[in-house]
Symmetry: C2
């Protein structure tokens, strides 16, 4: 058993929940003596140091070192992919339905790694981290990071954990972008890729929603050009930003079924615009989601991470504008999934990826899953998705065990 | 020629543009001696007085009085439906492609009436009007108005103009809601109805977008609970609200074709979040739209009018929850239109109306028009739409002339 696996030190074989997990921290300087302080030259050309990644692991890396799966989180996710931090923890990690003993990403079988992205606010270095040059939080002094930068930092974590080749990288939405970036940046370091409900580049509509959310934050005077860490932050602007995002994660159908035109604790319209209590359930829900988000997320991180997603353009960066050329570097086998009601990354965007991969002769499985719950579908319990993921990981692992097909 | 037609006093037969139009004002008190001061008891139970409507007319009411068309505007429209105010006017009215000599709503043949809605800010009584009780703008003291209240005020204007029965009422989006309300509230006062790209009730998704836009305004400290008329208003919040609305009026396709991922006056990403200049064209476009809107629209009016649209529920108010029952009052012949890429009022919503009308044995034409430009399609030049409207108005008018079918 390698050191990192012992580090993980969990025995979750006794029950069928992922059990307790621990958030850990890796400061890159500690693992790369050639780059003092762990400095990284970002895609923008800026230098960033130190860089810390918050991460969590579940399951154990086996003797062969062939069972590691990197899970990449979406826009506002974190390293807490599954399990609980303690027994009193009411809320498990964000993909607890997918990751755990006996689940599609079976922690009895696989070693799961998940880290908070660079630029985040859940333990990894980001705009709310201390700027060593000033001793204060970076704010807007933090350099703009890209999906490529995030992935380069993840690679160092994976290496630190003793993994030379991932069984798979998996993620939905912006997590899927990271997975796609992995396939062309480190093709020799992974057997398989599972990009779900994602795209190789944001459409104008995607950028538009992100930009409006950013404008909502920056319109809040408490944002103060990003310098709010000693004062109350831009909570109203950030709440509006979250509400915008939240609607794009759902679907017309899902919202009709969930809320319709139901009133919130009322029998009739208030006819009162100044009323603190909203008329409709959907209004109440959105306000609640906005409020809750403000408690856990940093507004500047939201600006930086949405920008990274908007900048992402795999074909442009890795293929001179050609997605086919970009994927000529890839070697993994692929499972791609889209969802019928996802209007953020609709099926046609995922099909473009499938086409470009197939033109490179890669091993590609693709499924459009019927789901009414919109983009969020990848996060929810879905038997079809679970079966696909379970089977795909299983066949990949077996192929690797058998010495692998040429493609792997 | 009736008094109002002489009032209109235009001769636009000489050229093929709608020519110059004039904004006029009608204060309801002047026409209804039974309601001193023109007070109206609103749906909420509140009394509102005085009530002024800003309106414009094009063409002339004929001797028979059978050629009047009421055009109802959408959320942020106004009475300026077509033509120009003066020769130097660069921008004609909002439906100039539809209304004018030789156009589908032919001003050589029809008498077009369009008024700013109650609650608006383009000349009709609304939250920025003077509250007679205080001598100051109403702000949030303005009572909540409904689509029904708007239509009741319009009816008085129509009567004032000497029209006893409209040839048709027409409008898209919230204008279509008013048209639908007309058909069940004053069925004896209209021969035909043209509700375009509209609904009988907002879905949870529609309400969600409106609510987020309202929250964006109310999050702006300059909103000041609606009391900003002596100070700079909530321009940043209102701009964000407009950007949200604007995106919902377009479509994924239209935005891809128009903007794609084009950069704005740049060859490469700025990698700078504090940059005043946006990276992408679509960002620049949205910011511009937000800014322009703030110059012409009142934030409180935006709150009131979006609320009126959200409250609208024709089946609930006029049919005890049954749309079929609500339309049992209607007598008009109908032309309904939806657009394939309209995700604000998708075709299924318009089909619900068609079904309910047909169950009442009404004369209904419906067409889903292939268009990639989203909800905005009803405002744009579209040969299919124009042919439908022209033909429908023509046959309606001819039927009326011939003494009318029983249905008319």
């Amino acid at each position: 058993m390698s050191e990192h696996a012992r580090d993980n030190g969990r025995d979750n074989g006794r029950d069928k929940s992922p059990g307790l997990v621990e958030k850990k921290y890796l400061t890159l300087g500690g693992i790369d003596p050639e780059q003092p302080g762990g400095a990284m030259t970002l895609q923008s050309g800026a230098e960033l140091s130190p860089i810390t990644l918050a991460y969590e692991t579940l399951g154990e890396l086996n003797q062969e070192g062939d069972n590691a799966i990197l899970v990449c989180h979406a826009l506002t996710g974190d390293s807490h992919v599954a399990g609980k931090y303690n027994e009193d923890d009411l809320k498990p990690g964000w993909w607890d339905v997918m990751v755990g003993p006996g689940k599609p990403m079976d922690t009895d079988r696989y070693f799961i790694i998940c880290s908070n992205v660079l630029g985040g606010c859940m333990g990894s270095t980001g705009p709310c981290s201390e700027n060593p040059a000033t001793g204060k939080p970076y704010g807007l002094e933090f350099p703009v990071v890209t999906i490529g930068d995030m992935v380069r930092a993840q690679k160092r974590l994976v290496e630190h954990l003793g993994v030379t080749k991932l069984l798979a990288a998996a993620g939905g939405s912006m997590g899927g972008m990271q997975v796609l970036e992995w396939t062309v940046r480190y093709p020799g370091m992974m057997h398989a890729a599972l990009p779900l409900a994602t795209t190789t580049r944001h459409s104008a509509l995607n950028i538009a929603f992100h930009e409006i959310a950013r404008q909502a934050i920056m319109a809040d005077p408490h944002w103060n050009q990003g310098g709010y860490y000693d004062e109350p932050g831009p909570s109203l602007g950030l709440a509006v930003a979250r509400m915008i995002g939240h609607v794009t994660y759902l679907s017309d159908d899902a919202m009709r079924l969930k809320f319709g035109r139901n009133l919130q604790d009322k029998d009739a319209f208030s006819f009162n615009l100044a009323d603190e209590l909203p008329d409709f359930q959907v209004e109440s829900y959105l306000r609640y989601q906005g409020k809750k988000f403000v408690e856990r997320f940093d507004a500047n991180s939201f600006l930086y991470i949405t920008k990274a997603a908007d900048y992402f353009d795999l074909g442009l960066q890795h293929g001179n504008g050609s997605l086919v050329q970009a994927f000529s570097k890839a070697k993994a086998r692929f499972l791609l999934v889209s969802f019928t009601s996802d209007w953020l990354y609709p099926t046609y965007q995922v099909r473009e990826i499938v086409t470009a991969l197939k033109k490179n002769g890669l091993d590609v499985s693709f499924c459009e899953i019927e789901a009414h719950c919109g983009h969020d579908a990848f996060l929810l319990r879905n038997d079809r998705l679970f079966d696909l993921v379970r089977h795909f990981l299983n066949t990949t692992h077996e192929t690797v065990r058998r010495g692998g097909s040429h493609a792997l």
